[in-house]
Every structure is written in C-alpha cells, then in structure tokens.
Symmetry: C2
Subunit: 422 residues, 2 copies
C-alpha cells in the first residue's frame, strides 16, 4: 500500500473541485481518496509527501500514433500532401516491430513525464506496441486501424487477443478512415461491432477535403456513412471531428458518440478548428488527444487543453468560449470513459490508481486563484512531479523508475537512423 | 570564469545552425564560443558539464506586464470588456510598489525557469519593478507607458534615471496606446524621441475596435497616427500588430520598426492572429512577447513560438507557413535587438553571457532530426536545465540560486490576497 499525503486532491468524480486529503492505494487500486482524519492507518510500503501538491487523475491521451516519435521534427513546415506522401508514408513502410517497440518506449517516457497515464493508440505492429506498454507499465487501449487490403479476421483476432492479453492493454474496433477503407471491410466491421456489442472508432472529418471526398464517393459525410452501415449501433466515436456538420452532430448525439479533439495537429497541418462550442451546446461527449508526434510534434496534454480552449475563443471571437475546467475534465476524466476505461476516470475508492501529482511550487502555478485555470492556461509538463499507473510510480522528480531512459533514447536514435538515414 | 563544455552551441550569429563546442565566460561576458581544441585553458571558477545539451542565447520576452502575475487565472473565460473593466483595472488601482516588487519576483522565477534572460516590460511602479530585477539578477528594459493624465516629465526623468541605474536595466520611450493617450502628450514624447534620438514604442493595433476607434478619432490607423506625429523618426515598434494593414506595414518597413507578436494573449482574448506571413514577406523585423500573465496566463516563450507558427499555418490554410527556425531566431536573437540590447543577441566573444542550456535528454527532444523544429514544436520549459544572465547562473536543475523561491511564492500569495481578497 502507498500513501500520498500532505496535499490536495481533484477527484473529478463530478467536476474539477478540490479537497484537501490523502490517496491510499492497494495494488493497482485506490482504496481511499479524501480527508483521512479518524481513519485507521494501515501499514504502508511507502508514504509520499505531496508537499502541498495536487493529485489529479492522469491525463488520457484519447488519440495518438505513439510510435511516430521517429518522425518528430523530420518533416515540418511542409504542405500536407508532401508531408504525408514524401515523408511519412515511405518511412512508415520501413517500420519493423523492433522499431515500433523502440519508438513506443520513447513516447511512453514523454507521456509519463507529462502526467499522461493512458493512451488510445492507432498504429502498426500492435504486438510490439503492446509489449512496450506492458514492459514500461503504461496503460493503453489499441484502436483497430483497418484499411483496404486488410483482412477482417485481423480485427476479430486482435479484439480477442488484446482484450485478454494484460490488465494494462485493451482493444477497440476501428477503421483508419472512410477514405482508406472499402465498404465490404466496413460492413464486416459492423458485423463484428454487432457480434461483440462493441463501439467503433475511426478518423473522422479531419480535413475539409476528406469530407468532400466522402460526399463524392457516398453522397454523405463520413459520420453519416459509418452510421448508415450500422457501425455506430454500439457507440464509439471519431478522431478529430473538425468538419462535422449539424447532421453529423445529430448522429453523434443520438448514438452517444465521443468526439476526440486534436487541436495541435489540426492547427499545425492547417486542417481547421473543431467546432467545440457547437458540440458542447449539444452535450456531445468530448475527449482530447495529441495525434501523432509527426504532426504535433509533442505528446503533451497541457498543450492540447490550452490550444483547444484558446483556438475556440479565437475561432468564435468570444473570449468566454470553452472554459478551462470543461477541457481539464475532458482531458483527464472523460477521456477514460471514451477509451472504455471507466475505472480510470476519477480518484475514488475502487478506481485504478492512475494519477499525476502537480507541483504547485512552480512559478507558473502561483498564485492560486483557480486551479483548473492555472492547469489549462499556465500548466506545463514541468509541473508534473510524479505519475502513477495501476498503483506503480512510473515517473518521479524527473526520473523514470523501472525504465532506462538513456537506453530508450539510444534505441530510438538507432532505429530512427536506420529508417530515415544519415 | 565559467566553462560550459561537452555539448552543442546554437550561436545565432547568423541563423539557427549548431556547432559542437564550449562557452567560456568572464564576468558578464562571453570570451569564447565554439570548438576549444588547441586553446590555452584559463583557470575556471566553475566548469559545467553540458552532458550533450544545447546552449542557446536566452529567450527575449519582447512584451510583457510582468507584475500582472497576481491576476493569473483570476478572471479567465470572460468577455474582453468585463475582464478588463471589472477584474483588471479595479485591482490594478490597488497596486503598491511592494506588491509590484513581490509579483515581479514571481514573474522572474517563471522567466528564468523557462530559459528567458530578458524582458521588455511596461507597467506601473517602475522603481519597484527595477529593484526586483536587480535583486534577482534579471535583465530588463522598461518601456514607458504614458497615458492621458501622466506628465511628460515622468518620461524624461525615467529615461535619464533607468538608463543609468544598473547594467541590467534599460528604458525606452513609450506610450501605453493611442486610445489611452492625448495628443499633446504624444507630441511631447515625439519631442523627447527627437531630443534623445530614441525609438518609440506602444501597444499598436491589438484589437479591431482599437483600430476602428483610431480612425474615428484621427482618420487614420494607430501606426499612421504615431508616424504623423514624428514618433517613429528614430525607430521603435509596436506591441501586438494584429490588425496592421498594408499602409501600416509600409510605415513599419520605411521606419525600420519592430513588430512584437503576442500570439497567446491575442488568441485567449480572441483578438485575432497577427499577419506574420505578410510581415515576413516585407522583411519587417519580428520579435516575440508573452504579454501579461493576466491575459496569457503563462510567461513561456516556448508556447509563444509554437503558437506563432501554428496559428499562422491555421490562419493562412498553409501548413508550410511560418517555419520554425525563423520564429526561434525572432524569440532569442532578434528580440534582443528589438529591445535595444545588441550585446545579448548571440553567443560570441564580447557578447553578454545571457544563455539557456537545453537538456536534450528529455523525451520530447528525441530523436534529433532538426533542433530548431524540436525546440519550437516540441520544446517545453522542462527542457531548460540552466539559465545564465550576465555570466551568473540564475536557474539550474529546478533550483533558483540566489533566490528564495518559497519566500517569493509566499510574498506573491500575501499581496495577491490583499489586493484580490479572500
């Protein structure tokens, strides 16, 4: 059992309010969260002095291609098409499982040092990806990425395999996107969604041209098209949702779908600003993701929260749009439910011990008028003092217990050179 | 003498290229920057192992109201007018020199922990502000902020006083803005600019309504109005420059004026996106600022660089717009010249020893394809390992040598409570 004491807790059981108190963990679970006066103290293996810090549920990165760390800063400041076809695709074709393992481990160091405790990931070589997560004690949900040419049985096999593989690993049905799928495959996926009573996920309405192409091919938007095939009969959601129209939002609302916003990627690739105000007005469920480091280039949920809020203000011309606390809740608590991790959404007895400790003794966290606004508008990775996943400390004071950071950096550099040259 | 060795240098004497090498300092100056093979080694007081890190000229925050730290996260997510008139102005009226001293010290901790080595600041109680900077060894240039009701002699006195006060302190002529000045005062300032052959600075074209108001009052834009009074005859520049038109840019070009962009503040207050692409096309000189922490809310040049680039891509619909290396150069090197600190613009013998050490052993800095793009698109404050100003280490490994951070936090909280209540 571990005790975190002498600080504050933002449990996010309902909102972003704060209580003084302690967190007690037992194995991978929280057994107490709140004031501890009068409780009988068990024997703790370790007691961690929060020194006035704040415990929050860890950030949930609800959309990423983690292993793309190898393309960070490799091809920036290029038009989207040359970026994708000249720089990204040819190098991805050279990826091996060993390389994905190395690049994923680098991403995980970035995640845990930024207070991120889980990732909803879509990429190749899922076996190697899962191994990297298990080896470093990081929680992940793999999203299927079926594209034309893939076999439907892969999705069924992956679903069965990864959902049983390890407590830290999950799998959700998914296609890469409408524009990379074929209809037979999508109909097969809809059959699986019905068989498993499972949600369905895909990139959706990321760019204007993607939506225009879908109208040309199918006479409707990606959301309407997926829905017409029965893919959303058990829920799910879409990644990006920049160009969703009113009809799409009706479908999101009716099916209880999640919109996962990726503001940094959408800004850097000039894709647009997702209509978060209109989504919120309809109470459509929102989660937040970084997308991959090739397009972002950081895997940093502080940046995503901040951008989501200020881009909404800018796009709507309304400085009151998109209040910080809503975004913090989406990034930490709601994201867990989006990924199908309801046990990771808050700090309460019985929940998974997935949390981050925010150091309030950093200049940007002072003074303390409003903690949620401090975190969203002035929060940075340097405020993260400790990250715990499933009851295990994976980051603390700049160090990575249980991980050899130097070896991971060296491995990532080695495979990057093999793939990208020089 | 101090030696920084075993790393890399981005001297920014011309561009953002990198060389392996050492930095040697003597007093407040750099005496060597580059490969040190074959040189006779002097006796160093201290030798700092860079451990493969990168030395850059420190960031120059070219526009701020540093002491507004006390309003950080106090009044976010509000429309601009209620923010300004209900929350900012009434509390600023309660400021004392002691409070400004306390709030400035907090800002300086934030600056140095984020690799910022100088600030171009505009605010009240300039004496107390200067003292905080001197006491913590931070470099600052104070910008006059004359408004209607102020006396012209204040500007002359401040100019004489602060430019002689201390090597770390400077002063430039300035008015708060067109909309808060009266013409007689501005004509007086133009007289001073001529007398001192000095540049003139002001908030300029931050919001659309500011420009519209200036047209109503004077039949021209703020830039044209200032220029018509002779204020720019010896150069200077404008803070924000969001709504500059083609004629304004002609004046900027003709007068050699600096545009200081503050993208975070402009986004959060929904003021707009500065036309950096069009400014760059005309080779108008660019620097970068955070604006005050009330509107930002962080004093973080990593965030400003990142935002400046991605907002330009988003606004122009062109992912190739505003390349990272240009922004890094503006934020570190050009900013120094904007503020009138030509000795702080690069790492070369004879220059001031103002620098930041970037830790490349942080996950977001790997792999290393392109250092400038890593810094702009994935850089965060947690990569700053050391900050030096005028040859003195003011930040190192999370600590603030020569400053009592706990006392500074406590002081800021105390005065914040006095002013904001509860």
């Amino acid at each position: 059992m571990i005790r975190l004491y002498n600080g504050y807790i933002m449990p996010m059981t309902a909102d972003c309010s704060i209580v003084p108190g302690e967190i007690w963990t037992d194995g991978d679970r929280i057994v107490h969260a709140g004031p501890a006066g009068g409780l009988v103290r068990p024997a703790f293996e370790r007691e961690i002095d929060l020194r006035g810090g704040l415990v929050i549920p860890g950030f949930k990165n609800a959309h990423a291609h983690s292993a793309m760390t190898f393309l960070r800063s490799y091809a920036d400041d290029l038009p989207l098409q040359s970026w994708l076809f000249d720089k990204v695709f040819p190098h991805e074709a050279k990826l091996t499982p060993e390389a994905v393992y190395a690049f994923t481990r680098l991403a995980i160091l970035e995640y845990v040092s930024g207070g991120i405790t889980a990732c909803f990931d879509m990429y190749f070589h899922r076996e190697a990806y899962a191994s990297a997560n298990i080896d470093l004690g990081f929680r992940t949900v793999i999203c299927g990425a079926l594209s034309a040419g893939d076999s439907l049985s892969t999705a069924a096999d992956d679903y069965e395999r990864f959902n049983k593989l390890h407590p830290l690993i999950g799998y959700r049905l998914g296609a890469h996107a409408e524009y990379t799928a074929d209809e037979e495959l999508l109909r097969g996926l809809a059959g699986l969604a019905h068989e498993y009573r499972a949600p369905f996920w895909a990139h959706n309405s990321e760019t204007k041209s993607e939506v225009a192409g879908c109208y040309e091919r199918h006479g409707m938007s990606p959301t309407a098209y997926f829905d017409s095939l029965g893919l959303f009969d058990y829920g799910g959601g879409g990644f990006h949702c920049v160009w969703c129209d009113e009809n799409d939002m009706d479908i999101f609302k009716r099916r209880g779908l999640w919109a996962v916003t990726c503001p940094a990627s959408n800004a850097k690739l000039a894709s647009g600003v997702a209509p978060l105000g209109r989504l919120a007005a309809r109470n459509i469920k929102l989660a937040v993701g970084t997308d991959g480091p090739a397009s972002n280039n950081a895997l940093d949920m502080f940046r995503e929260m901040y951008l989501a809020c200020v881009l909404q203000k800018l796009a709507s011309g309304d400085a009151a749009a998109c209040p910080a606390e809503n975004m913090l809740y989406a990034a930490c608590s709601a994201g867990a439910r989006a990924m199908g991790l309801p046990d990771c959404d808050s700090l309460a007895p019985g929940k998974q011990a997935d949390l981050a400790v925010i150091d309030l003794d950093r200049p940007g966290m002072r003074p303390i008028h409003d903690m949620a606004k401090n975190l969203v508008y002035a929060g940075t990775r340097d405020c993260v003092r400790l990250t715990m996943i499933a009851g295990r400390v994976v980051y603390e004071n700049g160090e990575f217990p249980g991980a050899d950071a130097e070896e991971i950096y060296a491995g990532a550099e080695k495979y990057t050179k093999e793939i990208c040259g020089q």
